[in-house]
Symmetry: C2
Subunit: 311 residues, 2 copies
């Protein structure tokens, strides 16, 4: 049996949140259905931020409810705080992702509190879920933003990343997501940090959330994989970042990430030809938004053998 | 002292050869000078094909002569056959790169002879250089095109790549260049083949020539590096491939390749800010040609510390 990797679609949250033009709920559901049909089994479908702050994701409840009807789909959502966690608990999402920044300056700028205060907030979220979630409580992950550099502080100390990862693991995180929020990471740093954090907090899983701003996205994925990471965030067409600026690409491209792993003989469970239908839905709904992706442009090579078909 | 990697600019040959609009010789010389000023110390400056077949490179002699005036620059040129080797010998280039395709179908289509016949041609080129080159004879490398897949044949057998690499090494190659001519390679295959060929033909060096057609270019570079490869071809702005089709990117982007290695703490000797001047020269001369590169668009991150400055 082929080794497998998990790829989580985050475009409906991390991609859409930076796009001003509101995507109708029915389009989001069609996108969700198309990705599900292509074999995607983990999707971060929305964010439980206050709807007034982020009108694009004001339909979080409706999207989550639909996603929960798809058998075998792991439905996750971002939560900014305990209030968001309560919304997620009420709906019964499978996974909630809390985010804090390792860089003090980035955390202060984003949520007006120190990183340590955010770690304390995360601890309260975990406790809340344990108290209220019962036997079917959702998994609660913690994303560590700016783990590989910060637009405000520049360098981010690798020992600090490791220390905070250990703190959130001790706080009861079901998983940690090391995030290169601003596309500052390189394969050497990513290899080092993943290797150490994975060793420190095992068996708690460590996932990767990378942006492709400086072209190293897939090289960074490869480095994290070599260091033992088996779970990767990506977004259809690389949605995210600043969608109208050609240079500021967003998340790593879902299609290209699937292509890389499948071409290496690692099973993703995702069918690239079916994924094209999902891309078409997003392209029609947001014709002004640049969609990235080398496979979408160049097509699959003649020596490509998807793992599921080869098996 | 930091570990170093060698990066060879091939845009003046592999990039320009696919561009119909002829770049004036003085522009080529200005481009050469700008790259030299940025620290590039290996450049494939032209190809000794018959000028009638490739008017873009009809000024090979003039470009080579100028390149040979730059102290410390390794001047290389592509040679299609013994006739080309004679031109290179007469001019005194430092390195000549003969190319054959591992895929029989690709070789037949390109040069109307079998791969084995091309290996025999290469053997004659090596003998010619030994006879006529004297003590200062140029290095003669052999590029193995379609080593990771072929648009005509699809899969290319890895054992065949290895066998032909061994044959050209036995024929006296001073170096071998494993080429992913059509952007079909993936990090797993590249890791396997580089590791084996490097072990087989040591101490003959094995370089990498990759195209970024399907977005895996830098991941493939990383895989080859992990397998022991220390020398990489790249082109400014990713020139090459089919320059007018947005999807058909060419060689891996020189700037992004330098950025990846330098950010990993591996010394390239190349100054990215100075390289921007070379890019400007090419952009002005060929305004219709798409130049690629994430660093050119997004800029260097605040956590970037070039190796030479850090030392």
């Amino acid at each position: 049996m082929a080794e497998s990797v998990q790829i989580r679609e985050v475009g409906m949250r991390d991609g859409l949140q930076s796009i001003a033009e509101i995507m109708p709920t029915e389009t989001k559901l069609a996108w969700l259905d198309a990705e599900y049909a292509a074999g995607v089994r983990e999707i971060e479908v929305s964010s439980f931020v206050p709807p007034k702050l982020l009108p694009q994701l004001a339909d979080a409840e409706a999207v989550v409810k639909h996603a929960l009807t798809l058998p075998g789909l792991t439905v996750s959502a971002l939560i900014p705080n305990s209030r968001g966690a309560e919304r997620g608990l009420a709906l019964g999402v499978h996974e909630m992702n809390f985010v804090l920044s390792v860089s003090e300056g980035h955390n202060l700028s984003n949520v007006r509190r120190s990183t340590e205060e955010s770690v304390a907030d995360f601890r309260r979220v975990v406790e809340l879920c344990r108290e209220q979630g019962g036997a079917n409580r959702p998994r609660v992950n913690c994303g560590l933003a700016t783990s590989f550099g910060c637009t405000i502080e520049g360098d981010v100390d690798e020992d600090r990343v490791r220390r905070i990862a250990n703190e959130v693991a001790a706080a009861g995180a079901d998983g940690i997501i090391l995030a290169d929020t601003v596309g500052y990471g390189n394969p050497a740093a990513i290899g080092r940090v993943f290797r150490r954090v994975i060793a420190d907090i095992a068996p708690v899983p460590v996932a990767a959330h990378f942006h492709d701003t400086r072209g190293l996205g897939l090289a960074n994925v490869l480095a994290a994989f070599a260091a033992g990471c088996k779970a990767f965030d990506a977004s259809l067409g690389g949605l995210g970042g600043c969608p109208y600026a050609p240079g500021a690409t967003g998340n790593i491209v879902l299609e290209d990430t699937v292509f890389m792993f499948e071409s290496m003989g690692l099973e993703t469970g995702i069918d690239l030809e079916k994924l094209a239908a999902a891309r078409e839905i997003v392209h029609r709904a947001l014709p002004e938004v640049m969609l990235y992706g080398a496979i979408a442009k160049a097509g699959l090579p003649r020596n490509f053998h998807p793992v599921a078909q080869a098996a």
